[in-house]
Amino acid sequence: MSKAAQNNHSDEPVITITSVSRAFGLRPVLKNIDLHIGRAQGVCICGVNGAGKSTLLRIIAGLLKPARGSVKLCGLDVNSEPEKTRSQLGVILHKSMIYPDLTIFENLLFFAKLYGVKDGHARVKELLENIGLSPYRYDRAGVLSRGMLQRLAIARAMVHRPTVLLADEPFTGLDVEARRHFISVLGKFRADGGTFVMTTHDAAMAIRCCDRVVVLDKNRLIFDCETSRIDTDRFTENYLSYARNQD
């Protein structure tokens, strides 16, 4: 693991993962993971299926508890102070977390209320303009295409202006236009000082969207490097082999 990558990050870590381990039954999924992510960083967690990417993301979000170790968000433990940490987090998972029987506007307004957003109507209108779903605001979410639903899921995650955005395989099933839109949203989010962590199999997308890549292999974190220091061609060709050889 590159020590330089750890040292060059912003001073105060926004996410601090310390010795996190987790198993499902007798099967270990994560072993002794340490990771520090600074403010306004974009970090991509790469790994093959079953490497533990989604589990790690769910642990950061507080949806799963680690068997050992701790996760801190802005200095607060996600498990002992869940209400405070959750208001800082925006999360995009495999599924949209959108109610198909509510309209697009109602869905966003509902989550705005859950997060205690002041002037929720104005915030929802603003988001709908940003994601280009304003003309469809009275349509039920159940009729949206995959790409539009993903846009709505992104808006849902951003409704309360989080400081940290977690995204689990956000590009799965998206067409080129939807991908471009998501990348622009990420760019703006980070430009505003937001910290972003995503998981993906797509090494090229990891290099394109993030300024740091970590690789999980066999339940361990084997690689952590800034994208500017990575040989892009070799990494995108076979990131796992690249990561193993760098260790």
């Binding site: 949806l63 869940p82 998972l93 495999h94 959108i98 109610y99 509510l102 109602e106 209320k113 859950l114």
Partner: protein, 237 residues
């Protein structure tokens, strides 16, 4: 407190709107309720007991099983698009989610009863002799009891992916003690039982109407508080 009320109201309204739009459970509840009432009416004609005896049984069986449908649905919608994760990721206390879901399930049962109770009254030719307030109180207390236990177990069953018959098995076993005073109270209101009972029979420990309502209130308090406290453990890992 303000945030608690706002988030509770938001989840409650969302559940009600979702159900009335999807129309998935209310029609099924009504059909099931009508079927139970009708089948028991036919049975009572064949066996020739007093309709006032079979009436309370028909009502509670209909409320229990139709209530189970509503409660099962209340968490099935959350599972659809992993919406439960969306709720749990928000800075809302799980207890607030439980209370909002409980209110929504009580409202669903009340709407169902608005349709089924008049049908049962007509079918069984029931009469409460002007004691409507007592009758509605017993129904409301029954609704709260059924919904409080059903909401918690529905979350357990849906989120553990056990599904199916497990919900009815768990809920009916836990609700069994509450159904004794509930049934007694309706028997008494329909004039099928004496004002006060004594002895060692199953219904006799209830004694009279006031005690029956007291038991219902006590069961509801215990069930609701226990389920509210346990809900956080059920929905979180």
């Amino acid at each position: 407190m303000n945030y608690f009320c706002e988030s509770l109201w938001a989840i409650f309204v969302k559940d009600i709107v979702t159900e009335f739009r999807s129309k998935q459970v209310l029609p099924t509840m009504v059909v099931l309720g009508m079927l139970i009432v009708w089948v028991l009416r036919i049975v009572s004609q064949a066996a020739s007991p007093s309709t006032a005896v079979i009436g309370p049984a028909a009502l509670w069986i209909a409320f229990l099983f139709s209530g189970l449908l509503a409660q099962e649905r209340s968490f099935a919608t959350e599972e659809q698009e992993d919406c439960i994760a969306g709720l749990l990721l928000a800075p809302v206390d799980p207890g607030t989610i439980y209370i909002a879901k409980l209110f929504a399930n009580i409202v669903m049962l009340c709407v169902f009863e608005v349709v089924v109770v008049p049908v049962a009254f007509l079918t069984f030719q029931l009469s409460v002799a002007g004691r409507w307030i007592q009758f509605l109180t017993v129904l409301l207390l029954g609704n709260i009891g059924i919904s409080s236990v059903g909401t918690l177990f529905s979350a357990m069953v849906q989120l553990s992916r056990a599904r199916g018959a497990l919900l009815s098995v768990l809920v009916l076993v836990v609700l069994m003690p509450m159904m004794i005073p509930a049934t007694f109270a309706l028997l008494l209101l329909f004039g099928a039982a004496p004002e006060a009972l004594a002895g060692t029979a199953t219904l006799a420990f209830v004694g009279n109407f006031k005690t029956a309502v007291g038991f219902l209130i006590a069961f509801n308090a215990v069930y609701t508080v226990a389920c509210w406290l346990l809900f956080g453990f059920v929905v979180r890992e």
